[in-house]
């Protein structure tokens, strides 16, 4: 446990400090959401109708920005060899690294979402629902991204491959995240079924992602 705690704190520090680039995601999120109203024009009804989808798309793209570097620095400096050799199972190592990345990059997106919802003329209910679905759904994107990052870690330009691998798997998360948000706002549409499916997706990828990523990292250790 001590080793995992040390890994979490170290990755969190690296992500938050200058070179980590965790804030890049938040700035990109802000840029996406802030520019949409300029593109759509001053139609507040339209903005509030598509607002939850814009927040989710912005969050998804922002999360993709930081994913390809998840294991790259560790491979480049030789740390990955020692982590693979270590007594801690690689699935746990990956899970902890994902937790650190999400804390540094995903959680700020969730916290920024309510403020950015104001840009999109969202009602308080829609803002709360967007924040809640992002809180539950963004970890799934991180876990999916970990698999892509692990597969691409040995490649010289793996960033594009990560996006190509991750996007198709992340689309269901996007669909159910947006559906749940609309369900909270629009009366006839239900909130709980898509929200529970979103939760199930996060649990599924949270279980499978680290195992698959760990296996890929072990295979790339040569």
């Amino acid at each position: 446990m001590k080793a995992l705690g040390a890994l979490y704190l170290r990755d969190l520090r690296l992500a938050v400090s200058g070179g980590g680039g965790a804030m890049t995601g938040v700035i990109f999120f802000l840029a996406v959401v802030a520019t949409v109203p300029f593109g759509i024009g001053p139609d507040l009804n339209l903005l509030s109708r598509i607002g939850p989808a814009i927040l989710w798309i912005g969050a998804l793209l922002s999360a993709l920005l930081t994913l390809d570097r998840l294991f790259q620095a560790d491979r480049d400096d030789g740390t990955l060899d020692l982590l693979v050799m270590g007594r801690t199972p690689m699935a746990l190592v990956v899970a902890v690294k994902c937790a650190a990345l999400w804390t540094a990059g995903g959680l700020p997106l969730v916290l920024a979402a309510p403020f950015l919802g104001l840009f999109l003329a969202l009602e308080p209910t829609a803002i709360a629902a967007s924040a809640l679905t992002l809180l539950v759904g963004t970890p799934a994107i991180t876990f999916i991204g970990a698999v892509g990052a692990a597969v691409a870690v040995a490649l010289p330009r793996g960033g594009l491959l990560v996006s190509v691998l991750v996007l198709p798997l992340a689309i269901p998360v996007l669909i159910f995240g947006v559906s749940a948000t609309y369900g909270a706002v629009n009366d006839p549409e239900p909130f709980m079924p898509p929200f529970l499916i979103l939760s199930a997706l996060t649990l599924f990828f949270g279980t499978l992602g680290p195992v698959a990523a760990g296996a890929a990292l072990k295979a790339s250790a040569d």
Binding site: K2, A3, G5, A6, L7, R10, R13, L14, S17, G18, G19, A73, D76, D77, G78, T79, D81, L82, L83, V84, M85, G86, R87, T88, A221, D222
Partner: protein, 234 residues
């Protein structure tokens, strides 16, 4: 007593054999220095011993070693340090924080040196507060080697450990290895330079070098000149 026995070990990538079959035995207090020209398979051998590559054939048997949980260790990785060509230290993080991380990650039990004492043993001043990236190449290598001392392990697997070290630092590291051996440790090192381990056993991989590569289960060896000639016909 801790013993490492290597029996019929062939190492390589996939089914391509880089070196082997090899047989050797190292016991507590002994060092094995692996030599040979570039491409002879030294790094591949050490990475295989460290558990980073699967062996093409043969096995590594360890006896008399306890893992972190108190059970008998089954793999060399459980009781060994591996120092490769890369330093495994974060450039933007201080030397002290880097060493603290490896102490927490790699310690099997207590008893490691403090960061300051470990750096001092390798002839470095107290640089714990400086970012690792600020150090010179030789200082970086020594700071990286300090993790051997902050998190004690019985077996040191060292790939070119003295690369970038000046003559004085090489002598210092030779003394550090000597103390490790005196305490009953084992050193398995690949090098092109003398390590100051006069009593060490030697394993020369020169015979398998010079562009020679075999495939597991295949027939005779084909060298690169013959391969080029064959390709000329295609």
């Amino acid at each position: 007593m801790l013993t490492i026995s290597v029996e019929g070990l062939s190492v390589g990538r996939g089914r391509t054999i880089a070196a082997g079959p090899l047989d050797f035995r190292s016991s507590a207090g002994e060092a094995l220095v692996v030599t040979g020209p570039n491409g002879a398979g030294k790094s591949t051998l050490l990475r295989t011993l460290a558990g980073l590559l699967p062996p093409v054939a043969g096995e590594v048997v360890i006896e008399g070693a306890l893992a972190a949980d108190g059970e008998a260790a089954r793999t060399l990785a459980e009781i060994s340090h591996y120092v490769g060509h890369r330093n495994a230290m974060k450039p933007g993080v201080t030397v002290g924080r880097n060493l603290d991380f490896w102490r927490a990650s790699l310690s099997l039990a207590g008893g490691g040196l403090s960061n300051r004492d470990a750096l001092d043993a390798l002839g470095l001043p107290d640089l714990t507060g400086l970012p690792f990236g600020y150090l010179s190449a030789g200082q970086q290598r020594r700071a990286s080697l300090a993790r051997l001392l902050v998190a004690p392990r019985d077996v040191w697997i060292l790939d070119e450990p003295t690369a970038a070290l000046d003559a004085d630092a090489q002598v210092r590291f030779g003394e550090v290895m000597g103390r490790h051996l005196s305490a009953g440790g084992i050193v398995l090192a690949a090098t092109h330079q003398p390590l100051g381990l006069d009593e060490a056993k030697r394993l020369d991989l020169a015979a398998g070098a010079a562009g020679t590569r075999r495939t597991a289960g295949a027939g005779p060896t084909i060298d690169e000149r013959e391969l080029a000639e064959a390709e000329g016909w295609i």
